[in-house]
């Protein structure tokens, strides 16, 4: 066990830090769930890509930097440290990208990965359907083979980034006689295909972070299928693992929130007492624990290990920590927790420095989606019980 960074890792960190300090926009962008913010974020992704930092662990040929996973963690730390914008193409870079690397043909890799890395193509995910949420195997959307095309019919919903994205990935039933996990295929669909209709859905924040997507005889070429026909479930399970685990939820995000929470507490220490202090400190510890467990997992992966159902442990831990951090922040803010971002700052929140008190309410609303998406935490607990602990299948 050696927990000290190598000289090369230190140099990598210094390089990333220097680039980010020189390039991160000094004023924050609008939310990427607005049209204007979406394009601002796409522009930022282009800049990141031009700087060679769009997708550091990807091979150079696909627009990456060929870094290893430890360097990836270091980059993420620097990224959050710099307060850089959220990743508008997270569905592409963190979920679909790794999936294509694992299951894609050379042609698919060459076609899609560079466009993902540069965010010339921003992706929506199409996991859910109205009747297939936690029960993803209940998918009904059909893809009927007709020559070298699939004809898509049906509906996806809660497609995150769906409102403004270019492409959508998701599972479709290619075998109409099939049931449950069988007969599904993983397809990549341009959202401007004729027959595809996107209806944005307003979230609690009022923004359109997700959408319903309707398929009405939309034609998609067969080469847009990832892996074999009927292999969709296997592919999707791998993607879902990425979603729950390592890539999408890098520990730096939660360490950053914990750090901001500590700053918020320090700004209110005269009013917020010891009970809140203990909660703040516990949040900080849990964010560190999440980072440590991630480093441990990465070490295991670098030594040839695989991620399995442990991703379910991750999902529960980060999502519940995120809610707890925001709840703690709102309790520190007290009666002012209710104010929206545009409200004038109070004396106390001004003193708390760069952390605006009112961002916490938005963050809280967002955090509440954590225990729901990427497989509800109830589903994750089932998986832990049955797949990790070996308890009998629930009825």
């Amino acid at each position: 066990m050696d927990l000290l960074p190598t000289a090369a890792q230190q140099a990598f960190r210094a390089g990333a830090r220097a680039w980010l300090e020189a390039n991160v926009p000094s004023t924050s962008l609008r939310s990427f769930d607005t049209r204007e913010g979406f394009e601002q974020h796409r522009a930022w992704e282009r800049r990141l890509h031009a700087g060679g930092f769009a997708m550091v662990p990807w091979p150079v040929e696909y627009g990456g930097r060929g870094a290893d996973l430890l360097e990836w963690l270091i980059f993420e730390e620097e990224y959050y440290r710099a307060g850089a914008p959220k990743r508008v193409n997270q569905n592409g870079i963190f979920l679909l990208g790794p999936t294509i690397m694992e299951f894609g043909t050379p042609a698919q890799k060459a076609r899609f990965l560079p466009q993902i890395a540069s965010s010339e193509e921003v992706w929506a995910q199409g996991w859910s359907e109205p009747n297939a949420g936690s029960d993803m195997a209940a998918i009904q959307a059909q893809a009927r083979r007709e020559g070298d095309h699939y004809i898509l019919r049906g509906q996806k919903t809660w497609a995150s980034r769906g409102a403004f994205a270019d492409w959508l990935f998701g599972m479709f039933r290619t075998d109409p006689a099939s049931e449950r996990h069988k007969g599904l295929s993983f397809l990549l669909v341009p959202l401007d295909t004729p027959g595809v209709t996107v209806r944005p859905i307003a979230q609690l924040s009022g923004e359109t972070g997700f959408a319903e997507v309707f398929f009405d005889d939309a034609r998609v070429p067969v080469e847009n299928r990832l892996a074999g026909e009927g292999d969709g479930w296997r592919v999707a399970m791998a993607t879902a693992g990425f979603e729950r685990g390592l890539m999408l939820r890098s520990p730096a995000r939660f360490q950053k929130t914990a750090q901001q929470l500590v700053a918020l507490y320090r700004g209110h220490a005269d009013r917020a007492g010891e009970a809140l202090r203990n909660d703040v400190v516990r949040c900080w510890m849990d964010a560190e624990a999440y980072a440590l467990e991630t480093y441990r997992t990465v070490s295991r992966l670098l030594a040839g290990g695989k991620i399995g159902f442990e991703a379910s442990l991750n999902k529960i831990f980060w999502s519940e920590l995120d809610v707890r951090m925001h709840e703690t922040a709102l309790r520190i803010l007290g009666p002012r927790a209710d104010l929206l971002a545009e409200a004038p700052a109070s004396h106390a929140s001004t003193r708390a420095g760069s952390v605006s008190g009112t961002d916490w309410l938005d963050g809280y609303l967002f955090s509440l989606s954590g225990p729901i998406y990427a497989g509800t935490n109830e589903i994750q607990r089932n998986l832990i019980a049955e797949r990790i602990l070996g308890l009998p299948r629930s009825a």
Binding site: S128, N131, G133, S134, D135, A138, T157, W158, I201, A202, Q203, L204, G206, F210, R271, A272, G273, R331, G334, P335, R336, A337, D338, L339, L340, A341, E342, A343, P344, S346, L361, L368, S369, P371, I372, Y373, T376, N377, E378, R381, N382
Partner: protein
């Protein structure tokens, strides 16, 4: 000794419940959220007619002459409906405050005589500027502002025409999470003429107002909590996954059972606090704080669990759940957030010779 409500009280409650179910469905709440003033004079007048607004107004002034023991059930119903109108300030706080002012001398009596009948008739909205709240809810639509300043209490009547109104009172809207409760920073010209009480007399009135405001929030929280639980139960019965209603999964069942437990142990606390306030029991401060804490915690848990049970759909603006979630969050913060009330209970419980332990539950009575 009887811990329960009379048939008349329960009848009035169910009348109000039926009325609000019909006249204040979620679409009406959303309409009010989006409307320019946030106010609905017709609905307000109907609430007056039902007796909700004038419940605490003496019969001589056109009200029902009731007290907090009656009002608590009606407030519960306004919480259940997420009614976005200023019932707490007007009916629960201002009415008894004016009533008490009416007993302090001729000027107070005149003020009470002028406003209590109008409130009971549904012709007046009162906003309260209380030191425990940083902002003033619904100030922009108020016909009367009762505002504390320094050690005095002022009654300010903004002119009804907009031009003159802004001359006397300036209301700056504060963007907040619950669109059903518009809050304002208020600037107004107070003077010797607007002053209606001062010193210890003003403090007594403000202290009583705080208990009543907090109690009213607690009562609304009960209703909101029960409604969120009902929404979650109904969704869990209807939504199917894995070939069965999700409400048949223990993970869902137990999450909602917890809410029910917390709700049913907040309820008697709120009802006792209503009795304490109505009877001016010695224990009323601690009873009210306990009520606010218990109902606030139940509301927070209900919001959290109901959202989790709804899944993604609960996270949308279209789904109605957030009407009550936002309400539950803002009610928990209004009229004293958790630390304020916890400190009041602490002080009581940890004092030397505090009357606690078996047999003391109703000892703090008047």
């Amino acid at each position: 000794m009887r811990f329960g409500f009379s048939d008349e009280q329960l009848l009035l409650q169910s009348t109000v419940r039926d009325f609000l179910r019909k006249e204040c469905p979620p679409e009406a709440v959303r309409r009010l959220w989006a409307s320019e003033t946030g106010h609905d004079p017709a609905l307000w007048a109907q609430l007056a007619e039902l007796g909700v607004l004038g419940a605490g107004v003496p019969e001589a002034h056109g009200g029902l002459g009731l007290d907090e023991r009656d009002l608590v059930l009606l407030l519960e119903e306004t919480g259940r409906a997420a009614l976005p109108l200023p019932v707490v300030a007007t009916a629960a706080v201002a009415v008894p405050l004016l009533r008490e002012l009416g007993e302090t001398g001729a000027a107070g009596a005149a003020l009470a005589a002028r406003w209590l009948p109008r409130i009971a008739a549904g012709d007046a909205i009162v906003a309260i500027g209380h030191p425990e709240n940083e902002f003033v809810a619904d100030a922009a639509v108020a016909d009367l502002l009762l505002i504390a300043e320094g050690d005095a209490l002022h009654a300010i009547e903004p002119a009804s025409d907009a031009a003159n109104r802004s001359d006397r009172v300036r209301c700056i809207r504060q963007p907040a999470n619950d669109p059903g409760r518009r809050i304002y920073a208020v600037e107004c010209r107070t003077s010797a003429e607007t002053q209606v009480a001062t010193g210890a007399a003003a403090q007594r009135l403000l202290d009583a107002a705080f208990e009543r405001g907090a109690l009213a929030c607690a009562a609304q929280l009960l209703g909101a909590t029960e409604q969120m639980l009902a929404l979650a139960v109904s969704y869990a019965c209807q939504r199917e996954q894995f070939g069965r209603p999700i409400g048949s999964f223990q993970a869902v069942q137990h999450q909602l059972a917890d809410v029910k437990v917390q709700l049913e142990y907040a309820r008697p606390v709120v009802y006792k606090a209503a009795w304490s306030v109505a009877c001016r029991a010695r224990s009323r401060a601690v009873d009210v704080s306990h009520a606010k804490l218990a109902a606030g915690a139940a509301g927070a848990l209900a919001a959290r669990r109901a959202l989790q049970v709804h899944g993604a759909i609960g996270y949308t603006w279209e789904q109605d759940l957030h009407l009550w979630m936002r309400r539950a969050w803002s009610l928990a913060l209004d009229w004293g957030a958790e630390p304020r009330h916890l400190a009041r209970v602490s002080e009581f419980v940890l004092a030397d010779g505090a009357p606690i332990g078996p047999g003391h539950t109703f000892e703090g009575a008047a």
